[in-house]
Symmetry: C2
Subunit: 227 residues, 2 copies
């Protein structure tokens, strides 16, 4: 379903050149639950940004459902992201001038969902992540873990087929982390593909497959170990 | 050395009122290594902001070395923060328009350290956190864990007596986390007081005392358990 072949990604800024991803081969089937682990700076978020169609590879082929994403226009990419992919960012990226509720409604607005429906779904999702009493707060009026949970609720807003979560429990205590992982496990049981970056073993155990990244390459994939 | 008595902190924004801290009593001696744990939204960062003189309590007494911090002017607070306290923020707060190197030099600039000395110390600290090859990068050109490490290096710039670290390893893989904890342990052995918020048990074990916060109150303190 998701296929990366010979994927490389370099950042070039003046005389700074960083080869964030060197040569990535990756095939992920629909409905898998994949954990990505690896050292700080090894390329995990860069890989997630490519999978999430937020960034383009410098070279290589990237397909989803056999469609070549490399050939998509900006508009087509935005539409794919909005309808198919839910992204939880490592640094949240909430909109500072919108309330918690409006932040979660935003993806639905782009999809043309009615105001009444948006509000209902946003409140339901925020209830699931334990933030029913923070709906009118602004992101600056939230704790770190609360911001993270708003980012998670927002990623689920459009009922995505694929959830990409970059360190979704990095700022959460153990009990709250387990609540979040239960939500993701339930979605996975319903057929949603989950790809999550984590540095915590207890979180990686929720996945059925672990990919280890180091220095821009995949150095281990438990799927290979089993075949 | 650090003394909080009957400390309360409320946030009031229009008709939103949140009692982030309800009634905090806390005494921390010089040279202690304290871990603060507790659920998301329980008040840990709010407590850290008061300890770090970044925010004032709504009521109660706060003293450091028997000086009443409640009575300090803005200027006196800024000076105390700059010279005595190193703060690692949960969301880093790096300056977007400065290079990694300049971000770490900044606290020393305020203290009047020479450009040559600042550069030397900043490079040494960034080397310690494994970022020697990222000195000229801008924060937006760093991974999440790299930003976190720059925030850690910056907190150490002025050789503080007290280090307040809010989830300093939240975005770091296990190996890099251990390198950071070794740096903090070494500083603690040299007499630096360390207060760190974490949700990870493996990180809390580096501390000699664990305080648990829930709903704006301290519900457990391993120091009491031992007396
Ligand atoms: N500016 C503000 N206005 C209103 N409420 C606030 C504000 N800042 C924080 N809060 C609330 O105060 C409470 C405590 O926040 P705090 O950031 O101290 O929690 P925390 O224990 O650090 O949580 P986390 O583990 O998620 O980082 C939270 O419920 C939060 O919503
Ligand atoms: N815009 C950029 N310009 C230059 N280099 C960049 C840029 N963005 C990221 N990098 C570099 O690319 C490498 C990979 O970054 P990435 O964010 O993918 O790492 P990561 O594995 O997610 O790390 P972490 O665990 O710390 O979040 C890092 O070494 C980083 O410094
Ligand atoms: Mg990352
Ligand atoms: Mg916090």
């Amino acid at each position: 379903m998701i296929h990366l072949e010979n994927i490389a990604k370099s950042y070039v800024n003046g005389d700074i050149r960083v080869e964030a991803l060197k040569n990535i081969h990756l095939h992920i089937e629909k409905g898998e639950f994949v954990a990505i682990m690896g050292p700080s700076g090894s390329g995990k978020s860069t890989l997630m940004n490519i999978l999430g169609c937020l960034d383009v590879p410098s070279s290589g082929v990237f397909t989803i459902h056999q469609q070549r994403i490399n050939d998509f226009s900006e508009v087509e990419l935005a539409e794919l992201r909005n309808q198919t992919i839910g992204f939880v960012f490592q640094t949240f990226h909430l909109l500072a001038r919108l309330s918690v509720l409006k932040n979660v409604e935003l993806p639905m607005l782009y999809r043309g969902v009615s105001p009444k429906e948006r509000r209902k779904r946003a409140m339901e999702l925020l209830g699931k992540v334990g933030l029913s009493d923070r709906l009118q707060h602004n992101p600056s009026q939230l704790s770190g873990g609360q911001k993270q949970r708003v980012a998670i609720a927002r990623a689920l807003a459009n009922d995505p087929d694929i959830i990409l979560a970059d360190e979704p429990t990095g700022n959460l205590d153990t009990m709250t982390s387990m609540e979040i992982m239960d939500i993701l496990s339930d979605l996975n049981k319903q057929g949603v593909t989950i790809i999550l970056v984590t540095h915590e073993e207890e979180i990686a155990t929720f996945a059925s497959r672990v990919i280890t990244v180091r220095d821009g390459n995949i150095i281990e994939d438990t799927k290979d170990a089993l075949t």
